[in-house]
């Protein structure tokens, strides 16, 4: 089936098998390997991207379902080579170790802060419920999100 998807502002038209998952489409057809595959069972959040304004787990979405939509991946949030404030905060606060969960964490955080620009620590933890990190113990991730919130507010 032929689909048209706008990814990070660029329109793509491709022929895809209906069972192709969005995450494979992004990584393999478009070469956007910033988005990761962790669990492949909708639980870890490594594959989170934005689709038409809301975050989705791209391992639990068919590429054909994305036909006509606008997608933003981790590759698309910096502007003119300048890191997004959430990326900056993850760097600054050491919100990662191996980095495998980071793209998903950042995409989820971007939406979280859009919905709630001044979250409490509890709200941050609640908001990151669908993103699993095997390295950091989450402390620095939470710090990074709170720092990003502060930076975006000022």
């Amino acid at each position: 089936m032929n689909i048209q998807v706008t990814v990070n502002g660029k329109s793509h038209e491709k022929e895809v098998d209906p069972r192709l998952l969005l995450v494979h489409f992004l990584r393999e057809d478009l070469g956007l390997t910033g988005t990761k595959i962790g669990c492949d069972t909708s639980q870890c959040g490594a594959c989170v991207v934005k689709m038409d304004g809301v975050t989705v787990k791209s391992c639990t979405c068919l590429a054909v379902q994305a036909d006509g939509s606008e997608i933003t991946t981790i590759e698309g949030i910096a502007t003119n080579g300048e890191l997004h404030p959430v990326q900056e905060a993850f760097w600054e606060k050491h919100g990662l170790q191996c980095g495998y969960c980071t793209a998903g964490m950042i995409m989820t955080t971007v939406e979280l802060l859009e919905k709630n620009p001044d979250p409490s620590e509890d709200q941050v933890r609640e908001g990151l419920k669908g993103n699993i990190c095997r390295c950091t113990g989450y402390q620095n991730i939470v710090r990074a999100v709170l720092a990003a919130a502060e930076a975006q507010r000022s």
Binding site: P18, V56, L62, Q65
Partner: protein, 295 residues
């Protein structure tokens, strides 16, 4: 993981979806995909055709009219959790929607898909049963075939992953009576730590007078039984009683007798354990509903 091969169709109207379902054996509807796609990836489901209803606008939306809250089947958990209309009309549903899965599951998963899937561990079947929701179902018209019908939540669920929906029927909307000022409703669950699915969930709707006496009660539990289970013994014991700690504890303990013998157990929680937790979750729900405990 890849699903088995299937043909993909996008339906642009309810009638087109029904038409496609009727003329293709082995076809399945795809709403938010957060139950169906995982099943297909594990090859537990192998539809020959997937009918994507995600673009049918007439199946979305939230409104209140004549004391009834109406929610389109395609409305996502996130849209319900973000809706002040739902918060005002049926706070129990609003809060339950927020407790489903995680933000991404809520962004994709729909109320219609949740109940049609009829997973015993889902939250919405229990909540919609306790608030006495009505499900609008559309099938093929004509004299011998079913057209549109309405089924109450209490009759909709037949067994695990089984509902009254015929193969060519679509659930289009869910209607819930707006809760009155003197009705207190709450859902409490013991959530599975990884997914938030209900190990045991309990919902209550209590009508309470000015003297804190319960004048009407509906209670239901889920997660541990094949379908949501009402608690008639608990309801009878609550009515006419003041809602004190002691009276609530005594009434909720009676749920055990209402559960029947078919209790689900798995590697996470045995049937025996779930049975023991039913009264506890029910008590939590009533405590929260009556303000005896806070979240």
């Amino acid at each position: 993981m890849f699903a088995t091969e299937f043909e993909y169709k996008k339906a642009s109207s309810i009638s087109e979806a029904i038409q496609l379902l009727s003329s293709n054996e082995g076809a399945k509807i795809l709403a938010g995909g957060h139950s169906l796609l995982p099943m297909m990836k594990l090859r537990l489901a192998r539809p020959t055709m997937v009918i994507d209803i995600g673009g049918i606008e007439e199946m979305r939306g939230i409104s209140v009219e004549n004391g009834t809250l109406r929610i389109g089947a395609l409305t996502t958990h996130a849209q319900i959790a973000d809706s002040h209309v739902v918060q005002e009309a049926a706070g129990i549903l609003w809060e339950t929607a927020y407790g489903i899965g995680d933000p991404q599951v809520r962004n994709r998963g729909t109320i219609g898909g949740n109940v049609s899937h009829a997973d015993p561990a889902s939250d919405l079947p229990t909540v919609l049963t306790v608030v006495d929701a009505k499900f609008t179902i559309q099938g093929q018209g004509g004299i011998t075939r079913r057209g549109s019908r309405t089924v109450s939540a209490g009759d909709f669920f037949v067994g695990p992953f089984t509902t009254v929906l015929a193969e060519n029927e679509v659930l289009t909307a869910i209607e819930i009576p707006v809760l009155a000022e003197n009705q207190k409703a709450e859902y409490a669950k013991m959530a599975h730590p990884a997914t938030s699915f209900a190990v045991v969930g309990a919902g209550v709707v209590l009508t309470v007078d000015n003297n804190n006496v319960c004048t009407a009660a509906r209670v239901a539990v889920g997660g541990l039984t094949p379908t949501p289970t009402r608690g008639p013994s608990v309801e009878a014991a609550l009515v006419g009683k003041e809602l004190t700690d002691e009276n609530i504890a005594a009434a909720t303990a009676l749920i055990d007798g209402d559960l029947g013998s078919d209790i689900l157990g798995d590697i996470f929680a045995s049937a025996e354990y779930r049975r023991a937790m039913a009264a506890i979750e029910l008590k939590h729900a009533i405590f929260h509903a009556t303000g005896l405990a806070h979240h």
